[in-house]
Amino acid sequence: MDINFSKEDIQFRDEVREWVANDYPKHVKYKQDNGEPLTREDMVDYHKAIAAKGWMGYNWPVEHGGTGWTSTQLYIYNQEFGKAGCPPLLAFGVSMVAPVIYTFGNDEQKQRFLPDILNFNTWWCQGYSEPGSGSDLASLKTKAVRDGDNYIINGAKTWTTLAQSADWIFVLVRTDSSGIKQQGISFILVDMKTPGIEVKPIITIDGEHEVNSVFFTDVVVPAENLVGEEGKGWTYAKFLLAHERFGIAAVGASMRQLSRLKEIVSKLDNQDLDKKVAEIEISISALELTELRLLSALENGGHPGAESSILKIKGTEIQQGLTEIFVEAAGEYALMYPGPHGYGSNDKPSGPDFAANSLSSFLNMRKTSIYGGSNEIQKNIISKFVLGV
């Protein structure tokens, strides 16, 4: 056994580390560290910077303009960005819709969409969940009816992250209701400027506008925007979910938060908090090694399967746990936080800098155990595919 990366991988790590330190937009790192919300411009800035470096297609094969990196390089890339306090890349374009397009789409779709994703010229959002379809996604009801060269879409999507900024949405729609619910689902790409689409904000408990409802009323979409075969959307949806497993543990980002937290807690002389910090540090170490073990299996020709659900469950528990300790460390100062309506006064309260954003991070992070297949769904997956019950 050898836990050390190869010479080439270490060179690669140093290259990533150096670029992140020197060329990554500094105002974005600052906001991320301090739990401040990023504006649309912030997000465009850092995506464009990464695109300009040629690292946008980090998990794509070379033939489609990707980096063709190994799993180890992918791991290092995620780890270094996280450790440096960079927010993750928006997954919707580069690691969700793009792999579906280059795997199941036709040549015209590849040429039309992939370069813009690589350069972050188009912002994608994900039309999966519906008001009546959460964990039971296949029960979705949004309908697409074929009408000549078009589909007419009617229905509603919800929890659509950053739909307010998006240029395009990929939607799962029902094109056939006759069979079992997993059949008759299709995967369609829709221009957000199409008449009949209405985006309504949903304000979350941290006071932020991150997610939305998206309503479709007689939205006319050219049939050429169908990806793959009609009725095979469920297969593509599952492919998409399985595609983005690495990085889901967010170990690098949690390490960053941990080191900030340790600095804060070390000054408090509070043994209860010391203990909680030690516990979560051990969990992070365990998660890091779990990810490395999966990576090692992958690099040696294995197929890490449902075990990777551990990364989602523990990774999100750790992310949430860290924000909880920040809130505790802030004490009563955590209670004075901006919320949806801003401070009452233009001055900030007298507490430590981290206090004001500790609560909004804590509230914001609740989403992590709900999205991407809730942690309970992940446990069902492990139960079925690993334990065999």
Partner: protein, 365 residues
Amino acid sequence: MNLNYSEEQTMLREQIQKFCESEYDFYKREDVVKSDQDFDAKAWSLFAEQGWLSMPFSEESGGFGFGAVELAVLFEEFGKALVIEPYLSTVVLSGTLLDKSNYVNKVQIIEGICAGTSHVSLAYSETAKSYDYLAPQTTLSEDGLSLSGTKTLVLNGGNASKFIVTCKKGNDFGLVIVDADQDGVSLNSFSTIDGQSCSEIIFDNVAIDLDSIIAIGDEAQKLFQDSINLGTLCIGAEAVGCMTSCYLKTVEYTKTREQFEQPISNFQVLQHRMVDMFIDSELARSLLFKAMLEVDADSDEKYKHVSALKAHVGKAGKLSAQNAVQLHGGMGVSEEMMIGHYLKKMVFIDALFGNADHHLKQFSK
């Protein structure tokens, strides 16, 4: 980076598994527990024949020079089968300490250990209340000629022909070696919760000569800490084996146990609890990997990462075993069923060499 076991390591695991299946099933183990010696002499000579007793020793001492990874493989399999042979006390704690020391007679003693003909126990615990092993009250007189004090929880003490005893000499920490049959050594033996044996030993003005002193001062401290650290890693690996068996056996049981006209594994509340057991065992395994690789690299971080492992298995391992008992229902609390014995083993492992709280503090230092 490669975190896969080598072919040799996998072969070692298979050998041990084969032994556990054919020579050490739960009923045979029960016979060992009930025996006077609390170990199986036949199994022990087999260990010697297989070379397992020589694994961690340097080639100069007649060993194979294997590291923590191999020991962890052995202990993980021991954990699964709940093997209670005194490997920890004789080979790991005493043997590796001697091997790393400059003690004059070490090769001869290690030869006896490798051959399976002699047991040596480490006498380090005094009050059984605190884990401050570096401040013993047992005293080596200023002239270095006489040892007095009381030790408790000396694992396998009743079978040992020699004891390595921690002591103080003035302000220094020391390690001396004493024959079990020397004048002034008296001992009382007990069973431990997991079916092993241990002794309480009184050393009353036991004569010590220069050849009985292994080390004094910093050297002694380092030898002792490394020995306990390696022992802690080994029982951490044993815990990983226990946790793995706990979830596997529980899954197996709930699939066959029918209530309300169906296997109880159909119930989601049980499924999720078993998933929690599985996840905790995988996390424990990951911490074991980190710890054993740090120990083999002899890095400055090795104590810290062994503490991380011990803190996790102390807490999560007990919880896993408790869940295993719970999901086995009445079977879980039956002495004649194996499953409840994992709980006893986990309680033993948590308390030995510092419990979860202790190692959490060590980790954050």
